[in-house]
């Protein structure tokens, strides 16, 4: 692996790791954690979408992971790192069970189906008060367990370690998804979204591919949900509403679905916009909508196509 090719990425990673140290303010650190969470969620959503499966229920799987992890660590004494992983596994199991019937469904219906799925998840969580605390949710969720390495003891009661954890988790997940995207799996998924009849006629089991990608994407959502639970220490069903799923989809579309980086860019920028425009108080959503409309009307390829757009304008 020639290092020379990757110097740009290495530089970027160094910057990313340096940022938390530079940013001291707890509030900004929190925003960055949210950025990382949204990037992971949007990237996994986009990976599922490469095969033409647009999911409006991603927040629902995050919800499953969050509650599973919280309940396991609190009621069953499972160590937090393990419960987080198990949260992802729970989401994976649900995804696996439901994926077989739903992946055969046409895109337009798949969108609606996942929308209702996500809503049903939050409704069930609301209803199952004995397990989940209903609308008031679960509080006092333990934070990530203390790690001792190199004689140092890292405890997660403050924002900074959590942010670093989120960043490292994000980089691992992004690398994983990127590798899938670049390999034959990613191009087969794209082939499936272009023409599934043709794909079947050359012997590719498209249902298998779609199911696998859906399950992976939902596993990641569940894992992120688990982290969210232990980071926020409080979860309510409303945090995982349909609105969140819709926002994730918007991040993905506005960022640009054609390139892998689109999901990252979209999630990062659109998570920041509401915070940056907080000065406008209750008018803040208008700024968000303005940014949305600017991109969707002027840049059909999404934010990620901005460099190309600027270049083509300059050339004129």
């Amino acid at each position: 692996m020639k290092l020379g090719k990757y110097w740009g990425y290495i530089l970027l990673i160094i910057v990313v790791f340096a940022v938390p140290v530079v940013v001291r303010n707890d509030y900004y650190l929190h925003i960055l954690v949210l950025c990382a969470i949204n990037i992971m969620l949007t990237a996994s959503l986009r990976s599922i979408a490469t095969s033409g499966q647009i999911s409006l229920g991603h927040a629902g799987f995050m919800c499953i992971g969050a509650y599973a992890s919280a309940i396991m660590s609190m009621k069953f004494g499972v160590p937090v790192y393990a419960s987080m992983l198990l949260g992802g596994v729970t989401a994976l199991v649900v995804a696996a069970i439901i994926s077989y019937p739903i992946t055969r469904v046409k895109t337009v219906y798949f969108v609606m189906l996942t929308m209702f799925l996500g809503t049903v998840v939050t409704l069930v969580v609301t209803q199952w008060r004995s397990l989940t605390g209903g609308t008031t949710g679960i509080i006092n969720i333990p934070p990530l367990g203390t790690i001792s390495i190199f004689g140092l003891s890292i405890d997660f009661s403050s924002k900074m370690p959590n942010l670093y954890f989120a960043i490292i988790l994000m980089l691992i997940i992004l690398l994983f998804l990127y590798r899938i995207d670049r390999s034959y799996i990613g191009s087969t998924l794209q082939a499936i979204s272009q023409d599934d009849t043709l794909v079947a006629s050359i012997g590719i089991n498209l249902v298998k591919y779609k199911i696998i990608m859906f399950c992976i994407g939902c596993f990641i959502a569940g894992l992120v949900g688990g982290f969210y639970a232990h980071y926020m220490s409080v979860i309510v069903p409303n945090s995982f509403s349909l609105f969140y799923s819709i926002y994730l989809l918007v991040y993905m579309i506005v960022g640009g679905t054609n390139r892998f980086a689109g999901a990252i860019l979209g999630a990062f920028i659109l998570t920041l916009v509401p915070e940056v425009s907080r000065v406008f108080l209750e008018y803040q959503p208008f700024i968000f909508v303005l940014v949305l409309y600017l991109v969707i009307f002027l840049l059909p390829g999404g934010l990620v196509s901005l460099p190309k757009y600027i270049l083509s304008r300059i050339k004129k």
Partner: protein, 254 residues
């Protein structure tokens, strides 16, 4: 190698295909001809699993493949193309063929993710396989063009290349010459002949009669879903039923 027995398909009162017995062996080019609407594409769909037969069986290499899923049948070696050109329009020409080639390479999931040397080797194998096929159909100089931008004739050639990349034992071509000019027809026919020579059997649906007569070893003639005649091209040209079926619709020679 490939055999159908009493293959029948009925749609709510419409008898699309009735009691069709056909067989193809290695090294044969068999033509399936008949007027429009005779049910030829339906036969393809039935053989390759895109439609389930109402009655009858499809046997391939001794195995009953009737009604199995399309991708399962394709993996066994029965590959088809489509009358209305199907290719991956947004992919480059070589990417189109590579997509089908990975089947041939047989790579694992985790290996792909971790980019192991085994994966790199198999991946290169798939791309090499794809290149060889492009050279075979003489599209190699267009390998990086986006499929959408190709001329009609080249797109049809690409569709054949994609089918070939899936390593078929028998290739079912649905009107591969449609819309081609005479020069393209000639070169495509040469390629089809060469495919047969290399050991892949071919079942051909075509309306271009000159091509059918010159290329096919045997013909099976369909009308209204039923076989009305079979035999060599010369025999078919003399057969009254065949002439009647075609004259009834008005098209005979290309």
């Amino acid at each position: 190698m490939l055999e159908t027995r009493k293959l029948t398909k009925n749609f709510k009162g419409l008898h699309a295909v009735t009691d069709l017995d056909l067989s193809i062996d290695v090294g044969e080019i068999v033509g399936l001809i008949g007027p429009n609407g005779a049910g030829k594409t339906t036969v393809f769909n039935l053989i390759t699993g895109f439609l389930k037969p109402t009655k009858g069986e499809v046997i391939f290499d001794g195995e009953d493949i009737t009604g199995k899923k399309p991708h399962v049948i394709a993996k066994r070696g029965v590959v088809r193309t489509f009358q209305l050109d199907r290719i991956f329009l947004d992919f480059s020409v070589i990417q189109n063929v590579v997509t089908a080639s990975h089947l041939y390479a047989g790579v694992g999931f985790l290996e792909a993710v971790f980019d192991t040397s085994h994966y790199k080797e198999k991946n290169k194998g798939a791309w090499d396989h794809a290149m060889k096929i492009l050279e075979f159909v003489k599209l190699e100089n267009k390998k990086n063009e986006i499929a959408r931008n190709l001329s009609h004739g080249h797109q049809k050639l690409l569709a054949i290349a994609v089918g070939l990349a899936a390593n078929p034992k028998i290739l079912l071509l649905d009107e591969p010459l449609g819309g081609m000019n005479p020069a393209e027809v000639d070169s495509t026919l040469k390629i089809i002949g060469e495919i047969r020579n290399r050991g892949t059997a071919i079942l051909l649906i075509e309306h271009n009669m000159k091509a059918v007569m010159s290329t096919c070893d045997r013909l099976i003639v369909l009308n209204f879903g039923e076989e009305i005649a079979r035999g060599t091209p010369e025999e078919m040209q003399q057969n009254n039923d065949v002439i009647h079926a075609y004259l009834g619709v008005g098209k005979y020679a290309a």
